[in-house]
C-alpha cells in the first residue's frame, strides 16, 4: 500500500471515529487499544458477552453501528497494544502485550485518543485499600457484568455518581448512599441548563428513577472528610450541608471529582509524526462529542498529508453543541473537592509513593519559589508509577494557591512526558531470548 500509515491510539469513540473517517478516505490506518477489546470507558464491553451491564439504548445502538462499520473497513485493529511514547528519532513505541514485547512504528501521523482520567480530590484515607474511583468501579462492573459486593458508598461530584449508582442498583446491589458535593442541583437555573441538553436530562432522569426505586436519594451538599480502616472495613466520616458530621461503616468507597484530559504522552519532537488529539483526551466533552472530534482529528490528518477533505460543518457543529451542554452540566456540579486548608498534614497526596500534604507544605515554607523540577526531584511528587497523572493537577493548583510567585509550576511540567509514558516490563524491552549481550 502506498499511502502513509496513520496510527490511532485508543479504542474508544474518538479513536474508532477517527480511524473510520481516515479509512473512508483510503488511508492505511492502524488502531491501537491497550485493553483486550475496543469500546473505551463509555462502550466498554464485558469479558463474558452474556454478562452485560444495562446501558442506555442509544449508547448501545451507536456502538453497534460503529463496530459493524469497523469490521467491514480496512482499519487494522491491534488490541492489547499500549502506547509507550515517542522516542527521539520520532519512532512511536508500542508495548505489544500479546507477545510481551516493545515494537516501534513510524507513522506519518498519530491520533491520540486516550480518553479522560478521573480526578479525585485528596481526603485523609483515600489511599486505603477499598477506596476506588467511580470510573474504576464502573470499568470493573462493565467487564464482569456484576455489581461489587458489600456496602458501597459513592461520593464526590458529577453525573457519573448517579450513573454508577443506578447501574449497581439494576445489578442488585445499590450503594448505601450517594453523596453529591454540589448544592446547585435543584436551583431554578438548573432546569434551564438541563433543557439545553435534553439527552443528558433523559439519561439522568432514568438513573434517578432507578435509584428512587431502590430507595436511594443522592444527598446534596454532603461529602467525605476522612476514611479510616476499622475491623477490616472502612469507617467514613461525612459532613452534610448543614454541617452535621456522620460516621458510616462500609466495605468500599468510590470517589470521583470530575474528569481531566489524559494529557500523558505529548512529546511532539522535531522528528516525530504529526500529532493530533481527539475526544476527551483533548477536551472532556463526553462520548457524543468524541465521535465528532474523532472525525475532526481525521480531517486535520488528511489536510496535513495532502488528502482532500470532504467539506462538512457537521462535526464542528456537534462539538459546539456538546461544549455548550457540558458547560451547562459543569455549572451543576462542584469539583473543588475538600478545601486543602481543612486537610491534615498526614493526608496522602501522591498515592504511588505515599508523599503527604505536610511534605508538600514544608517544601513551600521557604522564601524561594518552588519549580516543577524541585517538586518532582526533591518532593518526589509525580515520580511514582502513574508519573503524576493522578496528583500533578492537584499539586499544581495547591502550589498556585499557596504562593503568590509569578509563575507557579504547571501540572503539565509535573506530569512525566518521557517515554515510557506508562510502566513497561523489562521483559518487553528485552525482546530477544535471554542471552548474554556480550556473547
Amino acid at each position: 500500500m502506498s499511502s502513509p500509515e496513520v496510527l490511532v491510539i485508543g479504542g474508544g469513540p474518538a479513536g474508532v471515529s477517527a480511524a473510520l473517517e481516515l479509512a473512508r478516505a483510503g488511508i492505511d490506518v492502524t488502531l491501537c487499544e491497550q485493553g483486550p477489546r475496543l469500546g473505551g470507558a463509555i462502550h466498554r464491553q464485558p469479558d463474558d458477552p452474556t454478562q452485560s451491564v444495562r446501558v442506555p439504548r442509544s449508547h448501545k445502538q451507536r456502538w453497534q453501528a460503529m463496530s459493524d462499520e469497523l469490521a467491514a473497513s480496512t482499519v487494522k485493529v491491534l488490541c492489547r497494544h499500549m502506547f509507550a511514547g515517542i522516542e527521539a528519532t520520532g519512532a512511536v513505541l508500542l508495548e505489544d502485550r500479546i507477545h510481551g514485547r516493545l515494537v516501534t512504528r513510524r507513522p506519518a501521523a498519530l491520533v491520540l485518543a486516550m480518553g479522560a482520567i478521573e480526578r479525585v480530590a485528596p481526603v485523609p484515607g483515600w489511599h486505603l485499600p477499598g477506596v476506588v474511583t467511580v470510573g474504576g468501579l464502573q470499568v470493573m462492573m462493565k467487564s464482569t457484568g456484576r455489581a461489587p459486593d458489600g456496602d458501597v458508598l459513592i461520593a464526590g461530584s458529577g453525573p457519573l455518581l448517579v450513573a454508577l449508582a443506578a447501574q449497581m442498583a439494576s445489578l442488585g446491589n445499590a450503594p448505601v448512599a450517594v453523596l453529591e458535593r454540589s448544592t446547585r442541583l435543584m436551583s431554578v437555573s438548573v432546569i434551564a441548563s438541563l433543557l439545553r441538553a435534553p439527552a443528558y436530562l433523559w439519561e439522568a432522569a432514568g438513573y434517578l428513577l432507578t435509584l428512587a426505586r431502590s430507595g436511594i436519594l443522592p444527598r446534596r451538599g454532603a461529602f467525605v472528610t476522612a476514611i479510616a480502616p476499622r475491623d477490616g472495613r472502612l469507617s467514613v466520616t461525612t459532613l452534610d450541608r448543614h454541617g452535621r458530621e456522620r460516621q458510616m461503616l462500609v466495605d468500599r468507597v468510590a470517589l470521583h471529582d470530575g474528569l481531566l484530559p489524559n494529557s500523558n504522552g505529548t512529546m511532539a519532537g522535531q522528528h516525530g509524526p504529526f500529532i493530533v488529539r481527539a475526544g476527551d483526551c483533548r477536551e472532556v466533552l463526553g462520548g457524543t462529542a468524541a465521535l465528532a472530534d474523532g472525525r475532526l482529528a481525521a480531517h486535520a490528518v488528511l489536510a496535513q498529508i495532502g488528502k482532500a477533505v470532504r467539506a462538512t460543518k457537521v462535526p464542528a457543529a456537534i462539538l459546539a453543541r456538546e461544549r455548550q451542554a457540558q458547560a451547562a452540566l459543569n455549572t451543576l456540579f462542584d469539583y473543588s473537592g475538600r478545601d486543602p486548608a481543612q486537610l491534615p498534614d498526614e493526608t496522602i497526596i501522591c498515592r504511588c509513593e505515599g508523599r503527604t500534604l505536610g511534605q508538600l507544605r514544608s517544601m513551600l515554607s521557604g522564601d524561594d519559589p518552588v519549580s516543577a523540577r524541585e517538586i518532582k526531584l526533591n518532593g518526589r511528587f509525580g515520580m511514582g508509577a502513574c508519573q503524576g497523572r493522578f496528583c500533578a493537577e492537584w499539586v499544581a493548583s495547591f502550589v498556585a494557591s499557596q504562593r503568590a510567585d509569578g509563575s507557579p509550576p504547571q501540572a503539565s511540567e509535573i506530569v512525566g512526558s518521557r517515554w515510557p509514558v506508562k510502566p513497561v516490563p523489562i521483559a518487553a524491552f528485552v525482546t530477544l531470548p535471554p542471552s548474554h549481550p556480550s556473547e
Partner: protein
C-alpha cells in the same frame, strides 16, 4: 577594602561548585555560587548514585577512597547506604578482565576481594546462575542523588554562603585585575572565578576565550516500580557497563553509562531505545527476576569528559585568577573530596593529593 563584590564567583552549583564554595568559606573567602537552574540538579542530582570503588580508575582510587569517607560523613541527609557491592563476570574472558582490573584496583588501595560462585550464590540467591566469577567490596554502596540539591542548599545557607539559582551566566568580562560576571541583568565582580559547570563546562570556558576539549556523555538511568527485595548490594558487571541497586522503597535503579542522545546546549538529553534495551538486557541477565519488573522512568544526565578521561582541576591555562573543576570520571563519588582539594588550592594551602592541570596537552584524535 576590596573593590570586588566577592572573593570568588563560582559558576555551577553542583557538587563541585558547592563543595568548593564550602571549603573556600571555611578558609575565610566570600564566595558567590551562580547556578543556571537549581542547585544540584545537573549530573549531581540525576545520576544513579552509585558509590563503588570497583568502577573507579586506578589513578583516581585515592581520591575515591576519600570521597567515600565524605559521603559516609554526609550520611542520611544524602541517603547514604554502605551496602557492599559485587561485580560479576559471565564468561572466561570477562572473568579474566575482572581479575586483572580488580587486582590493580586492590593494589591501589580499594579493599576488593574475590568471591567464589558458591559463596556468591549463598549470599545473593537472586543473582544469575551464569556468574563464573565475582569480586566484592564492602566499602561500596550508594547515595540518593536527588537529595544533592537540597543538601547543598542547606549547607550553603548554614555557612552563610550566597547563591543565585536560575541564573545562567550571560558573559564573563575580564577587568584589569579580576572579572565581572554578567548574569540576568546583574553584574558581580571578583578577583577569581571558578568554573565548575559540569556538562556545560566547555561553554562556560568559552566565555573566557578558552577552548577546552570537553565532551558530554549522555548517561542513561532507569527506575522500576517497587518490588520484593532481590538484593541488598550494589551490583556491577566486569565491563563496567552496569550498575544496579534496590533502594529502600523497593525500586530498582539501573544504570551503567549507556548513551542517550542530545547535547548540554540543547537542554536535556533523551533516552535511546537501542542502548536502553542493552542496558536492561544486561540488568535482567544479572538478576533474572527483574524481567517481570516494570520500568517506570528512564532519563539521562550529562557527564563531562576530556580525551584522557582524567579530571580538569586546577588553574586555567593563561588566565590569572581563573580555576577549572570538572570532568571527574566518577565525579559523584569523588566530587565532595576533590572540591575540597580545589578549595585548598585556591586558598594556597598544601594539597593532600595533587590536582589535574587543565592546561595539560591532550592527545586529540
Amino acid at each position: 577594602m576590596s573593590p570586588f563584590d566577592y572573593d570568588i564567583v563560582i559558576v555551577g552549583g553542583g557538587i563541585m561548585g558547592c563543595g568548593a564554595a564550602l571549603r573556600l568559606a571555611e578558609g575565610g573567602m566570600k564566595p558567590l555560587v551562580i547556578e543556571k537552574d537549581d542547585l544540584g540538579q545537573g549530573a549531581s542530582g540525576v545520576n544513579a548514585g552509585t558509590l563503588s570503588l570497583q568502577i573507579k580508575r586506578v589513578k583516581l582510587m585515592q581520591y575515591a577512597l576519600r570521597g567515600h569517607h565524605e559521603w559516609e560523613a554526609m550520611g542520611a541527609a544524602v541517603g547514604f547506604h554502605k551496602t557492599g557491592g559485587y561485580t560479576l563476570a559471565f564468561n572466561a574472558r570477562e572473568a579474566e578482565l575482572l581479575h586483572d582490573r580488580m587486582e590493580l584496583k586492590r593494589q591501589a588501595g580499594a579493599p576488593i576481594t574475590f568471591v567464589s560462585r558458591d559463596e556468591l550464590a549463598r549470599r545473593e540467591p537472586e543473582l544469575s546462575t551464569n556468574v563464573v566469577a565475582a569480586s566484592y567490596c564492602a566499602q561500596d554502596g550508594y547515595a540518593n542523588s536527588s537529595l544533592t540539591g537540597q543538601y547543598y542548599r542547606r549547607r550553603l545557607a548554614d555557612a552563610g554562603i550566597e547563591y543565585q539559582e536560575k541564573s545562567p551566566v550571560d558573559r564573563i568580562e575580564a577587568l584589569g585585575p579580576g572579572y565581572a560576571i554578567h548574569c540576568g541583568g546583574r553584574k558581580v565582580t571578583a578577583p577569581r572565578v571558578l568554573l565548575a559547570a559540569g556538562g556545560w563546562l566547555r561553554q562556560a570556558a568559552a566565555m573566557l576565550g578558552l577552548d577546552l576539549p570537553v565532551r558530554a556523555r549522555v548517561n542513561t538511568v532507569s527506575v522500576t516500580e517497587p518490588g520484593p527485595r532481590l538484593t541488598p548490594s550494589v551490583i556491577g558487571h566486569a565491563t563496567g557497563l552496569l550498575t544496579l541497586k534496590q533502594k529502600a522503597n523497593g525500586t530498582m535503579l539501573i544504570g551503567g553509562g549507556w548513551q542517550g542522545t542530545g547535547a548540554p546546549e540543547d537542554g536535556r538529553g533523551v533516552v535511546s531505545p537501542e542502548t536502553l534495551l542493552t542496558n536492561l538486557q544486561l540488568a535482567s541477565f544479572a538478576v533474572p527476576a527483574l524481567r517481570n519488573w516494570r520500568i517506570v522512568r528512564s532519563w539521562t544526565g550529562f557527564e563531562a569528559n576530556v580525551p584522557d578521561f582524567y579530571p580538569l582541576a586546577g588553574k586555567a591555562p593563561g588566565l590569572d585568577g581563573v580555576f577549572i573543576l570538572g570532568c571527574v570520571r566518577g565525579g559523584y563519588t569523588i566530587g565532595p573530596y576533590i572540591s575540597k582539594l580545589m578549595g585548598d588550592f585556591i586558598l594556597g594551602r598544601t594539597l593532600e593529593l595533587p590536582l589535574f592541570d587543565p592546561g595539560r596537552i591532550f592527545n586529540l584524535e
